[in-house]
Amino acid sequence: MLEYSIVAGILFGVFFGFMALGLNLIFGVMQVVNLAHGDFVVLGGYLAVIAYSAGHINPVVSLVGAFVLFFVIAFALYFPVIPRLTRSKDPEMLSLILFFGLSQIIEALDVIGFGNNPRSLPLAIMGAAPWHFLGQSYQMAWVITAIVSLVMIGATYLFLYYTRIGYAARAIMGSREEAAASGLPVAQTSAIIFGVGIGLAAMAGVLSPFMIGSVDPSTGLGLTTIAFAIVVIGSLGNPLGSVLGGLVYGVSVMLMQTYFSSWSDLVPYLLLLIIVLAKPSGLLGKGVRNA
């Protein structure tokens, strides 16, 4: 049982780390907490379900479509909204509220467009044979999802460390003022990161039916909270931290489900509270904020 919990926890943890990555990027670069993050994950889930049921398109293919589609949507959303917010009197709070409004809009549109019933994908489309490891067997869909997640996390890492835009993004994460002062294209970079962040959320959404079980309009805010917890555990603004946060979350949930199943829903919330009160800068955080 212990081995199963840990291995399954790692598989889920890698996925949830990927699920939180976009939230982390956007916060790191724009200081904006995208409260609609979970709703973009849900939208990605709907895209996968509809592509599969209408056209028998495998979710692995839908991943690409989801990224492109939501990158474009978010990129277009950036310019009328974010610059106006960053200029306002209280950008952090107002952006939080604005994205909360957006999350409510998306949730409402989900219900109007797709109905209230949860939708799901058969796990078997990712391979019917289970994966055997250390005497336990796991769903092949979980393994594939975890691999895809790892690949995407790796790709994001390469993007941040080996491209000009990634370099600018990291500079802005360090200090927005200094990045602007040294002539880096802050606005364009932010818009691209905003697109990438939401694109990644939608990609995670495509995989989400396999890991969460179903796609349901009402799960958005809960997913955002989980993503926020993961990001805070790993340190806000540190992309690699998402992986660590995801693993802590995945393994904790699986252990709780195995040993204290009736309390397992508490895990993300308790983890969040413990970490914000004990170490607000996260496990990988350097230094502490001054009062």
């Binding site: 957006l102 409510q104 409402a108 549109l109 508490l266 919330y269």
Partner: protein, 314 residues
């Protein structure tokens, strides 16, 4: 609009007194002219909750997504007071209030956080409360997921009157705080906690006081609500949309004033009643759009239209 607090309480005495009196009159008479008492009662409950959110968000800038936690724990305090301690209704209300205050004290370290950290952590805290109250392991205390039944103490008239009283008192409290140095101190803390300390304001104690007052208001609302409902489940009284609506009503009307949350509750709860019950997704769409538009074009809410013209807004 912010000059000299004490004189303001006096110089605007008329308009300040008018609001609680109007509320008192309106909700005393409403049941005589409008048959759907449940709607009137819920509107009052949301007004009080919006004022509780207002006290915290409007004056200190802390946005409590998890405000419903106090509401839920108040309802359960009421339930435990009646079911476990066999107290009469009004005494059980105090148990609900006490529970909410105790939880607020336990959660007061959350006030060290700011912005999004506080907002989301408070949401997490309310989910933790919900999961504890609803846990089958606590069935002997809370009846777990099976809910509370207080039918033997059901007294709709008393609980209705209790809600009217709570609404009037809460509104008076907000007006008093707004117009006294205490309220000014809250604004100062929101602007600059370090300068506030140097001006002699005990920042932590002042913030904690407001947090506890706000929790007390939420807890009492939940207790009276649970009493009035008499049968409820954890999922009813810890429903996150209760927080969400209270926040939306406050933002729409305008925080930091007494009238903003009332205005927001009347307009939006009215709208909710008109379309939200049969087609909640359309109501959600409308208030989602409203929030986005407010943030972009009118961050101070509807009352800021008056404030911009220099009028005193209670």
């Amino acid at each position: 609009m912010l000059s000299s607090g004490r004189t303001h309480l006096r110089s605007h005495r008329g308009v300040n007194a008018l609001i609680p009196l109007l509320l008192l009159a309106a909700f005393s008479l409403a049941p005589l002219v409008y048959a759907n008492h449940a709607v009137i009662f819920q509107m009052m409950a949301f007004m009080v909750l919006a004022q509780g959110v207002n006290l915290l968000y409007g004056f200190t800038g802390y946005l409590p997504f998890g405000y419903v936690g106090f509401f839920g724990i108040g309802a359960y305090g009421m339930g435990i007071g009646i079911e476990l301690f066999h107290l009469p209704g009004l005494a059980a209300l105090l148990v609900g209030a006490l529970f909410a205050v105790v939880i607020a004290l336990i959660l007061s370290p959350l006030l060290r956080l700011s912005g999004a950290y506080f907002a989301i952590s408070s949401l997490a805290a309310s989910e933790v409360l919900y999961n504890i109250v609803a846990n089958p392991a606590l069935t002997h205390i809370t009846n777990g997921p099976y809910g509370e039944s207080l039918v033997q103490s059901y007294h709709p008239l008393t609980s209705y009157v209790a809600m009217v009283v709570l609404l009037v008192l809460t509104t008076v409290l907000v007006i008093v705080i707004k117009n006294t140095p205490f309220g000014r101190a809250l604004l100062a803390i929101r602007e600059d906690p370090v300068s506030a300390e140097m001006a002699g304001i005990a920042v932590v104690r002042t913030r904690t006081t407001v947090w506890i007052l706000s929790a007390l208001i939420g807890g009492l609302t939940g207790a009276i609500f649970g009493w009035h409902l008499s049968v409820f489940y954890p999922s009813t009284v810890f429903d996150l949309s209760i927080s969400i609506l209270a926040i939306v009503f406050t933002l729409f009307g305008g925080g930091g004033t007494a009238i903003g949350p009332i205005l927001g509750s009347v307009v939006l709860y009215g709208l909710y009643n008109a379309i939200g019950i049969s087609a909640p997704q359309y109501f959600e769409l409308i208030y989602g759009l409203l929030i986005v538009l407010l943030v972009l074009f009118l961050p101070g809410g509807v009352v800021s239209l008056l404030q911009r013209r220099g009028s005193y807004v209670p």
